[in-house]
């Protein structure tokens, strides 16, 4: 697989990549091995591009929030201050409606705010032209086949990593609120009732529920962003073909501009919506951990 891709890359060096090669190249992570990952699961590999963008945007999130927190006074707020406070209020209200323990909200509400802005910023990397940062990186690194993906949430690892974090919080609050015994009791008696014959069924249902919540939580974000990124690449391909195709060339150019504009505008909605959904689901799942079945 790796050799095939490299062979294709070598061939592309002379003739320009085919559409398939272009897409595959853009969907390959810059990882610690320097080659595309071959196995589905390999924990010895780490995606450097995802980590770089995720940590950079995470720090940017914290920096933006810290800017507002530093100047926070009870006086008249400026526009920036007001905007951050608006989001804080929004998240605080949502958290208050879903999680009734004030003690838990001290951590969960700031977590939700961070996740919302962080995921939004990671998603918003989609608005940067798909080839711009990879091209800059290839120029800077001197390797014209260097891999670089800029949308961290379009990496399943990042999305599932965050949803696993939410799962851990759910388990923590389950034990904290219900006690270890109470939670284990619930694992075996809910949702069907406490009869010894139902214990295995209940436990299986609980495991399925936790797995389904976590995987759907991560997969939803990943799927939306991955698909969005892919569409941007297809639109880029559409425009890239305009010079070579004679009379239909200008049509392709117009198509690129039109489709690119429409998809980018529509994607603004998806970017914000997916960040909001991810935050809301995190709150809902953690809220469920506070309540008995």
């Amino acid at each position: 697989m790796s050799n095939v891709t490299e062979a294709a890359a070598n061939a592309a060096e002379h003739a320009g990549p085919t559409a398939g090669e272009y897409i595959v190249h853009h969907l390959t992570h810059l990882n610690s091995t320097g080659h595309p990952q071959t196995s589905i699961v390999d924990f010895s590999v780490i995606n450097l591009d995802t980590l770089f963008w995720s940590i950079s945007l995470g720090l940017l999130t914290i920096f933006i929030l810290w800017l507002a927190a530093r100047k926070a006074t009870s006086g008249v707020p400026g526009r920036f201050q007001g905007f951050i406070e608006l989001m804080v209020e929004m998240v605080a209200d949502q958290a208050k409606g879903i999680i009734h323990s004030e003690e838990s909200r001290k951590f969960v509400a700031p977590m939700a705010l961070t996740v919302f802005i962080w995921v939004f910023l990671m998603n918003a990397m989609d608005f940067i032209p798909v080839d711009l940062i990879p091209l800059l990186w290839q120029t800077a690194s001197g390797d014209h086949h260097a891999y670089m993906r800029v949308v961290a949430t379009a990496d399943l690892n990042a999305a599932l990593g965050m949803s696993l974090g939410v799962l851990l919080l759910c388990l923590y609050y389950n034990v904290k609120i219900k006690g270890a015994g109470g939670w284990i009791h619930e694992l075996f008696t809910a949702p069907f009732g406490s009869h010894p014959a139902l214990y295995p069924v209940n436990f299986a249902m609980q495991l399925i529920e936790f797995a389904a919540k976590t995987i759907s939580h991560g997969m939803r974000l990943f799927g939306n962003m991955y698909a969005g990124e892919l569409v941007f690449m297809l639109i880029a391909l559409l425009g890239a073909a305009w010079g070579a195709s004679g009379a239909t060339g200008p049509m392709l150019f117009v198509g690129h501009v039109l489709a690119g504009s429409i998809w980018a505008i529509f994607h603004i909605l998806i970017v914000v919506l997916q960040a909001f959904i991810f935050m809301m689901l995190a709150l809902v799942y953690i809220g469920q951990a506070h309540e008995g079945h």
């Binding site: 980590l51 926070a72 961070t114 965050m162 991955y226």
Partner: protein, 156 residues
Amino acid sequence: MNLNATLFAQLIVFFILAWVTMQFVWPPIVKALDERAQKIADGLAAADKAKTDLANAEKKAVDELKKARESAAELRAGAEKQGTQIVEEARAEAARIVSAAREAAEAEAGVAAQRAREALREQVATLAVAGAEKILRKEINAQAHADLLAQLKSEL
């Protein structure tokens, strides 16, 4: 779509970012928001209080004005009454003085008239005696006719 160690790195970053926000971002912003809400509530309460205070002050001012007007009217009525009384008294005094003066004048005039009448009576008696002397061409003893003369005098 391959899974690798990025999963765990992202998991750790997730908790670190959430922790930093909880520690350094959330509390000051929420505190500022609560304080501002309190400030606004205080401001609104103060505005309400000022409004009622103003209404009370206006009512009080109207009352004071009414009271002042009433007392002024009362004062004027008193003054008018007193003025009338003073005028009445002065008029009565004047009337009394006038009447006293008239009485005195009348009395004086009466005395003077009396005196004039006395004098006239004297003169008439003398003239009568002289007339009678001339008519009778004889001496009349004044002593002998004094009674007659006195009688005549009182009849005048």
